[in-house]
Symmetry: C3
Subunit: 435 residues, 3 copies
């Protein structure tokens, strides 16, 4: 005992001397663990409480022409695509909150995002684990690319096919409640109800209620060894609402108003595939979208695709149903050998194994969109189609810094943008960091 005491005490003496002039850090409650990887995480060891502060910045510089600009000439722009500050934590073990606020300015071209907006502000109850109940503002779940964080989707922009069904997986300022759960490491499901604005809805009347459903079966669910299938369904009733009925797409680039500045995502150069801006109440009823998703990954290679379909059902004999569908196929390969991360239901970060050169990934994605509308000015045209090629490279310098470049080429059949263009090229370089 004496020897042991001597040993321990002298080890202590060394420790004390190594920390000469260092003050102590304690807590007046449960033991804490704290860490930083550029942001900050603090949690009690008994898992009762935690706090995390972080964020993500995506700074884009783009050049583009044709369809992607307002006048068809070449233009360029530098802007923040996203600038999130993220706060989250655990409250009394069973509750968890998350607040993601996007500070990027005018980045969406719509009123919600004049200066900043909530990507998420939610509260979840996890006391019935593995079930989770979440309330607040958050995106409804629909699709694999949407489930994957904007930090770790392969191409800079998610598939253009989502533009056909944008109401299904965006919150548009509303509130919702969602129940989700998983089982056997392979099954995941969620069901949600949301109270939202129908886009540009009139000022009077009830909010629009939306239902979402997602199911995933992933018999293989580890990084570099993924087999993933999923189905999605969303529905809303528009029968009592006047709304902006246009189905539009940016065709794979944010686009800008081409004034060479920060205003990404201006609507001026969107393609309208179907629908009328002013759609009166009573014209349409159920708006239904469904989708299927599949992914396969083996080592550094991954393949994924989704198909989405939407039907806007005519409620009046003066109108015809509007149908739209789209799909994408994407292949990605990490030249440096790392596998894409995977968490049940979604892909995750590529983590570089070589500190000197980071991880290098190349990818190609093909997006296809089409819509059938026999109403109004669309009645006399063939179905509008859009095709987008995306070819790019991602450099993961480390787990926090990602630099990426993508070349996008789009072609439209049977329509043009407001300036008369039916094709366009664009190139985007993005510097991203997360903390």
């Amino acid at each position: 005992m004496k020897h042991f005491a001597g040993f321990a005490a002298s080890a202590l003496a060394l420790a004390i001397s190594a920390q000469a002039f260092a003050g102590t850090v304690t807590t007046d409650g449960a033991d804490l663990v704290i860490k930083t990887k550029g942001g900050l995480e603090v949690g009690t060891t008994d898992k009762e409480f935690s706090f995390k502060l972080g964020g993500r910045i995506q700074a884009d510089y783009s050049r583009f022409d044709g369809f992607y600009t307002k006048n068809g000439d070449t233009a360029d722009a530098g802007y923040f695509r996203r600038a999130f500050v993220e706060l989250g934590g655990v409250l009394y073990k069973d509750w968890a909150y998350q607040i993601n606020y996007d500070l990027s300015q005018n980045s969406g071209g719509d009123n919600r995002k004049e200066d900043g907006y909530f990507d998420e502000a939610s509260l979840a109850y996890n006391g019935f684990s593995p079930l989770s109940i979440k309330v607040g503002r958050f995106d409804p779940e629909f699709g694999l690319e949407k489930a994957t964080s904007s930090k770790w989707v392969t191409a800079q922009e998610r598939t253009a096919a989502y533009d056909l069904i944008d109401w299904t997986n965006g919150h548009n300022g509303g509130l919702g409640i969602q129940l989700s759960g998983s089982a056997a490491d392979s099954f995941y499901g969620s069901v949600g109800v949301f109270s939202k604005d129908a886009t540009n809805a009139a000022e009077d009347g009830d909010s629009t209620t939306q239902f979402n459903l997602r199911g995933v079966f992933a018999p293989m669910h580890e990084a570099g060894n993924v087999l993933h299938f999923g189905v999605n369904l969303a529905q809303r009733d528009l029968s009592d609402t006047a709304f902006d009925g246009r189905i539009r797409s940016r065709l794979g680039m944010r686009g800008v108003s081409t004034d060479g500045g920060q205003d990404a995502g201006d609507n001026g150069n969107r393609l309208t595939l179907a629908g009328a801006e002013v759609t009166p109440a009573g014209a349409f009823g159920d708006d239904t979208a469904w989708g299927v998703e599949a992914a396969w990954a083996m080592g550094p290679f991954s393949l994924q695709g989704e198909y989405v379909s939407r039907t806007l059902e005519a409620d009046s004999s003066a109108y015809d149903d509007i149908d739209a569908d789209g799909y994408y196929v994407q292949a990605a390969y990490t030249l440096t050998g790392e596998a894409r991360g995977y968490k049940l239901g979604k892909f995750d970060a590529v983590k570089p194994s070589n500190k000197q050169i980071g991880a290098w990934e190349v990818f190609y994605r093909y997006d296809h969109l089409s819509a059938e509308d026999d109403n109004g000015s669309f009645a006399s045209r063939d179905d509008v189609e859009g095709k987008v090629h995306n070819l790019g490279v991602n450099w993961y310098a480390n787990e926090a810094v990602k630099i990426s470049g993508v070349y996008v080429k789009a072609k439209v059949d049977n329509a043009t943008n407001s300036n008369g263009d039916d094709d366009g090229d664009g190139f985007v370089v993005r510097a991203q960091y997360v903390f």
Copy 2:
């Protein structure tokens, strides 16, 4: 000594082994204490410095009809009532700062709150304790419910009687300086001067200077054992200013523009009790408000009430004085037995004693408002009156999460809202968390 050394050293050895693989956390200055209850607090043990990061989210879902809507039909809405991020701390022992920024969007229906606004951004000097001098942007003090944090007021919305005197306890974007102090655990007082915009004032001229005074005597001042009295006075001089002179009320609900979305607090459905929107300079002079407040709490039961009165003095013979007064009485009872917290001058949180079921509180409040205006279109009418019944329940799941529901019923005499309604019902469910 030897035995003691052995004991201490072996205790240490155990501690070291329990933290195998755990890195040390030290400070290069004074000793620190750190903690999290979902947010983060760090302070030096010598009290020279501290830092605290937290916030509060209030997500509301409402249904209402009649007076509360623009067209009298039933409507619903989901929106954030408040979404504060809060930063504060101590600087060099004697100074303290506080920044509360509200990120909720369009939540006030006025220009100040287009995307976010400062609830508070202030600096206090506490070197003359128990006196405190505060400068910056913060709400003037007027009334017991206003003194109580929006996190812990009993009903979701503070009394409608405050609508009559809204300029007295809101900062409206100005700056102020305030001296406050307490004595003998029972006396509290504050006096402040504020430089503000008179509501919708013309573009030229000086700012409006406002004086506020509050005094509290609380012979009983512990949770569950409260006897509280207070007086309040506020004055401003409007003689040189054109201003929006309407005295308006939301009658106990935020209301929305009933487009089923996030835009809480639209002005469209407010009741105008008195005053004209365009009031020329020279029409009125002193604007004076006073109020009295009282509260009593015994165990889980609390009773509180306030009376406020305002006189807008005519400065020109072409105008008559405008008078308004209002009051409320509120009773609350915690079914699970907990007492409402109390800190000198204000109520505080109900802290649940039972971890399984939390604390359950029921309450009823009656608000009454009336105004006398013999000018313009009001001259031919009897005095406008508003009456509001609020019946609700609060569930404090723990010290961070509060779910509440309230039913509100309003009736107006001798006036209607812009849509012709003179009564309305509303129901609000709120999910609140603080961190």
Copy 3:
């Protein structure tokens, strides 16, 4: 050994007893150091990662007349000049990020600042130390006062001479990349390229590309012992762009729209020295600015000055070149004896040595501006000149709190503001805290 063990162990026992009931704080990675001086800093001892959260608030109360107001009468205003929240850190040793977001509302009178804006959001790579490569949104470098933080410039507002060349050192919402480096503790240089909006540019066309260059030689570079010289150059090509060509100045005060509120910096009372609001594409070509700077400090005394010159070159025979130049000289003296801090290329904080009275500093600055424009309405006038006297006092209560007051007197030759005033007086009191 036994004695030592006994000593160490009993010291430990004391430490443990002093921390009775105190929980441990550890990390699951590299050892951490944490500290607070009102904000928060956490870093790993191996320098791989760090995180810092802080901010700055500047609350101003101003009175002014004549030129500084819209109608020439006396007016006053209280508002936030700056309200920054600042996040930054180190990511994987070689990378550093910084996010400074200004929450002060309507503080710039222009669209960029409707509610908040990025002062900086950047990512730097420091792996080639002493070289640093920075990308993102940040101010181009031009001039000594601009290099000095807004927290620690001597007068509340930087020299009015900068108004002549405002595009050179503001980011205006664009993105940039910059290379900087230092050598031998005496040499500093930076070169940057920026993609920006030309002020109020038309909606179509490329962004405006801007180049900046700064070089500093400081043979003496310690607090209280400074000899500093610098040169600056900036250029942009406006030949293809319609733009707002006015060269305007606030003459040393933010000014307000004099509605007695929070709207600092309204444009209504700016002096237009040259240029036309609507300047067509093709009228002018290269816009070039250069400047020289010098500073000398000995003990509590400092002297500094800068000269800036700008030429907007006519590209069409229908236009004449526009020339503008300005300078300032500033003397500052710390009554309590402290020297101004200095870091290579810029001044830093005055740190009070006496805890009771803080540090007191007095200063005087003279600004001079002039412009020659022989186009349009300016052709018939003599050159417009502006002269500004700034006399002030700064009280550094401690390293976090600074209270300052400045009296500003301006006189204009050969022009007036929109209200016909050619001179004005103003007084500003500022309460500033940093954390």
